[in-house]
């Protein structure tokens, strides 16, 4: 059976086309679901204040602290960040502001 991508499982998919047993074989496809619009508060990264300690990375429930191949924090994934503020709270250098979403 060919891999079923999300485009094949649209909201109007009929019973003949839906994946048997509810199996999903495009693993990790939840990244296509945006949870960023849940935010009422927003973390703002100040690059100049950041010392690259990376303490913000493991505390994020939404895997939304972006780290590049060199191991440098490069920003926040606002597609998925729900605005919990844990990253801002743990930052020892106050490099992440936590502000009202506008």
């Amino acid at each position: 059976m060919s891999k079923k991508e999300l485009r094949d499982i649209r909201p109007d998919v009929n019973w003949k086309e839906i994946t048997p047993g509810g199996v999903i074989d495009s693993s990790g496809n939840a990244h296509l679901f945006k949870t960023g619009d849940w935010r009422s508060m927003k973390p703002i990264w100040n690059e100049e204040k950041c010392k690259q300690c990376l303490l913000c990375n493991p505390v994020c429930p939404d895997s939304s602290i972006k780290v590049n191949e060199e191991g440098k924090m490069t920003g926040i994934d606002y597609d998925h960040c729900k605005g919990c503020g844990v990253c801002a709270k743990v930052c020892p250098f106050k490099a992440i502001d936590f502000v009202e979403e506008v």
Partner: protein, 394 residues
């Protein structure tokens, strides 16, 4: 050449499992199915199978481990009875809806309470809407043969459903009878390799199984599952035909015994059919036109075929070895009458007997009572009582 043996139903089942050589057997002991995992664990201990035997701490975990093993791409099997099957309930539905062709040997026993270890069909009848294919067996030979066919049916791409092979506790499971076994290599070739489209252990294509499935998609999944059950009928007939070519033993959706010119028939599952056949032979010698229809496949229910087969009789008695407690007959009766009605078959008078609960012995004279009543109905055209109990002290 086929191997002639003398085996109990349980041992025959275990030998079928040995020949199938599944990847995982997860089971928990419960009378009268206990012998199946007992025999099987000796095959594992002696290294004659490749199987991992998982001696789980409950039947719920037995079915859960089977779900995990089958989803991982293995063949998983188990055996149980009565309360064990009831304890699996939740997981039975999940196995079916996840489209995992697990195979279960169900050794029929009365469901508690009160607790009772003897045979009736309240256990598997309770599981009749769980989405499992259910195949019933009259004797050890049928239990063995049905087991050999189970994987071919369940694993068929048009089906992908779990299969329950039922036989009567003690009556079949513990009684030693002659049996003809198929050679190991022939079984291996017949059953074939299991090659699922997806599996948890396919690292090139990881999968997720068992979603939260809400209003948007749940119904479509259920409709698809229902279609798989409908598809199973054709597959069962195809596999049975292939099995006939291999062994010369013919199986269909149900067996008809001396029905060609019969006026009245009994419809009954499993071992009681043997007693009924004995009575038929006696009555036929007296010139009485009596016959038997023994459903083999209960899920999917062969609505068209049964309605057609029953249409020619004057009177039909459906014998249920389980009560529905609906004050309106047992489960087999309800399904048969529903089939007749929906197919516009109004000719035969149909009555119901609930019998043999908790292992109450069913003797030939009990069956004679039923045939006598049927012949009376055939003569008079009158039914005085539709719902009846047979063999209970009044």
């Amino acid at each position: 050449m086929a191997i002639r043996e003398r085996l109990s139903g349980n041992e025959a089942t275990a030998i079928a499992m040995k020949q199938i050589n599944p990847d995982v057997v997860a089971a928990f002991p419960i009378t009268p199915s206990t012998e199946v995992p007992q025999y099987f664990s000796t095959y594992v201990a002696d290294g004659v199978v490749d199987t991992e035997f998982v001696a789980v701490e409950s039947e719920h975990s037995a079915m859960s481990a089977c779900i995990g093993a089958q989803a991982a791409g293995g063949r998983a099997m188990t055996a149980t009875s009565a309360n064990g099957l009831a304890f699996m309930w939740e997981a039975l539905y999940i196995a079916a809806s996840s489209r995992l062709p697990i195979v279960l040997s169900a050794v029929n026993r009365a469901l508690s309470g009160p607790i009772n270890i003897h045979n009736d069909h309240s256990d598997t009848m309770g599981a009749r809407d769980s989405g499992w294919i259910q195949i019933y067996s009259e004797n050890n030979q049928e239990a063995y043969d049905n087991m050999l066919m189970a994987h071919r049916i369940g694993e068929h791409p048009d089906v992908m459903l779990p299969v329950m092979i039922c036989q009567d506790g003690f009556i079949t499971s513990h009684a030693i009878e002659n049996i003809e076994l198929v050679e190991d290599d022939k079984v291996k070739a017949f059953v074939g390799e299991y090659k699922p489209a997806h599996s948890l252990l396919n690292r090139e294509n990881p999968i997720s199984v068992g979603p939260l499935d809400l209003q948007l998609h749940y119904f479509e999944h259920k409709r698809q599952q229902a279609q798989a059950m409908a598809n199973a009928k054709k597959v069962i007939l195809e596999v049975s035909e292939e099995f006939y070519k291999l062994t010369g033993r013919k199986y269909g959706l149900f067996e008809e015994y001396k029905t060609d010119d019969a006026d009245v028939v009994i419809v009954v599952l499993n071992s009681t059919a043997g007693t009924v056949k004995y009575v038929i032979d006696q009555y036929r010698a007296e010139g009485k036109k009596v016959g038997l229809i023994k459903p083999r496949v209960f899920r999917p229910f062969p609505v068209d075929e049964l309605a057609d087969a029953l249409s020619k009789f004057k009177a039909v008695a459906v014998l249920d070895k389980a009560d529905s407690f609906n004050a309106a007959g047992g489960p087999l009766f309800t399904e048969i009458t529903s089939a007749l009605f929906s197919k516009g078959v109004f000719g035969p008078k149909v009555i119901n007997y609930i019998f043999g609960l908790g292992g109450r012995d069913v003797k030939s004279n009990d069956i004679e009572i039923v045939y006598d009543k049927l012949l009376e109905i055939a003569n008079t055209g009158k039914v005085d009582s539709v719902y009846n109990y047979l063999g209970v002290r009044e």
